[in-house]
Amino acid sequence: MTIKEIQNELIEDFSFFEDWMSKYEYIIQLGKELPLINEAYKTDDLLIKGCQSRVWLHADYQDGKVVFTADSDAIITKGLVSLMIKVLSNQQPKDIVNSELYFIDEIGLKEHLSPTRANGLVSMVKQMKLYAMALSAKV
């Protein structure tokens, strides 16, 4: 699926939630299910400092695609990280670089992607694109 198709699917999934609580319960669930990053990658140089919650991000390049794994110490952040990975992992570098992420807005979680929010998510997206950019330059 393309980045756009995945985003649209997520938007549709979230449209079934009737209130904020079920939405957040789902995000928390995603956070709990996110495949853990290899502990070896939870190092300071892979840490994205978000002031309050911390995010670790690792990128691999396999068969022309970027595979992201990540973790966070806060579960809601982790759930949101998991959404980002669903959308951007296993994609070609140039598609990641050129992607426009509109689904967070559409599913009503915009406040979490505000640059003043101290959760590290904005820096994570930036970092994902930087990895992809570095890789597409190599290819």
Binding site: Y24, Q52, S53, A74, I75, T77, A118
Partner: protein, 407 residues
């Protein structure tokens, strides 16, 4: 506490009637900043409608009106903290400004290589970094009074840190993270045995505890208007005349001079020597309305009410399974920091916000303190004169909801 009319107090704060995410606002982030009563809000409009003019410089009518109003605040502050003289009240932009002024000006005059500055393990970054900068610049050493697991200062360690090389002791009256009320009177007395001046960070005390700088014998006492129901952008540095006279000015500019020649400038007298440039006039004037408001309710009434509320909240939170309160000192004021077992403070804060409850999460600008307790941060509920037991009940329900979602 029969005459504490909580309903009429709440009615004076319009923001308390608003909703957040469809829920009535429960504002428990008063340690960060307090809400403002109508008396202050109206005074701000009034200032711009009727008094706006620059202070200390015009002979025209409006300038005199603004200057008089501004100077009334200084008088009221003097009474509020029982300073000996009006000229010991330096108007600043806030606590941070006051501490930087002292560390810079006192430091320039009195601190040299090999000297020591004492702070405590529970200081706000505002009362750490300026002293660190001074120590770096002067090749002096920063010493830190350790604290117990309950969040109380280790007074015997403090005693052993005092010696002739110490040039300043700077400690907080009330910890913004733990709520600990420190024995500042004793801290000051011990420092004075070595002739060492003491700066008290009163940012979290001034709105809760009656302060008498002369009884405390404090050399410097700083606080912010916005944490005491007043406007943002104004604060106070109280300094004993003897120290303020000996310190060089902070910034140069208008208002702080008596006479300027290119060869040499004669500085103005106290307190204007430390008040360069146009201040935040509106905030300065309207701080007086906040002080009046506190006095009308009565600081002692407020203290009693808040102490009772803190007791109620502590018990209610302790009854929630999995809650660990950080900061269990004997003497506490208005702040409860806690952790919900297994949940990150950030997650708890997000859920509480969804339920209309405003708390602060994170390190509260006290990173070394978080390191001392080996935690990433806390959830902090901080109360003010207008909070109620019902709001504490809402907080507890919200925490239980968060626990059921997160754990």
């Amino acid at each position: 506490m029969t005459h504490y009319d909580i309903h009429s107090i709440r009615a004076d704060f319009p923001i308390l009637k608003t909703t957040v995410n469809g829920k009535p606002l429960v504002y428990l982030d008063n340690g960060a900043t307090t809400q403002k009563p109508l008396a202050v809000i109206n005074a701000i409009t009034d200032y711009y409608t009727l008094k706006n003019s620059n202070v200390h410089r015009g002979v025209h009518h409006l300038s005199q009106v603004a200057t008089d109003a501004y100077e009334i605040t200084r008088k009221k502050v003097k009474h509020y903290i029982n300073a000996a003289h009006e000229h010991e009240i330096v108007m600043t932009s806030g606590t941070t400004h006051g501490i930087n002024l002292v560390s810079s000006c006192y430091g320039k005059q009195f601190v040299k290589a090999g000297d020591e500055i004492i702070i405590s393990a529970m200081e706000h970054h505002s009362n750490i970094v300026p002293w660190q900068m001074l120590c770096e610049e002067r090749n002096a050493t920063l010493k830190v009074i350790p604290i117990s697991d309950d969040g109380e200062l280790d007074m015997s360690a403090y005693r052993s840190l005092l010696n002739d090389r110490v040039k300043m002791v700077a400690v907080t009256y009330v910890s913004n993270t733990l709520g600990t009320i420190n024995p500042v009177k004793e801290i000051i007395k011990l420092a004075h045995e070595y002739g060492v001046p003491v700066l008290i960070d009163g940012a979290q005390a001034i709105q809760h505890i009656a302060v008498d700088v002369q009884a405390l014998d404090a050399d410097f006492f700083v606080f912010s208007g916005h944490k005491m129901y007043g406007p943002t952008g104004v604060g106070v540095l109280y300094g004993k005349e003897k120290w303020l006279e000996l310190m060089p000015p902070y910034q140069g500019g208008g208002d702080m001079i008596k006479e300027v020649k290119f060869e040499k400038t004669i500085y103005n007298e106290l307190p204007f020597k430390f008040e360069a440039g146009t201040p935040n006039i509106e905030a300065g004037i309207c701080l007086a309305n906040a002080i009046d408001y506190i006095n009308e309710v009565g600081l002692n009434n407020i203290s009693l009410y808040e102490t009772e509320l803190l007791k109620y909240a502590t018990k209610a939170l302790n009854d929630v399974e999995g809650i660990r309160i950080i900061g269990t000192s004997q003497e506490k004021s208005s702040v409860i920091s806690f952790l919900l077992d297994g949940a990150h403070p950030y997650d708890v804060g997000v859920i509480l916000d969804k339920l209309g409850v405003a708390v602060r999460t994170g390190h509260h600008c006290t990173q070394p303190l978080m390191e001392r307790f080996a935690i990433p941060g806390t959830v902090r509920a901080s109360i003010a004169m207008y909070n109620t037991k019902e709001e504490i009940d809402t907080l507890v329900l919200a925490i239980k909801k968060a626990a059921s979602m997160l754990l």
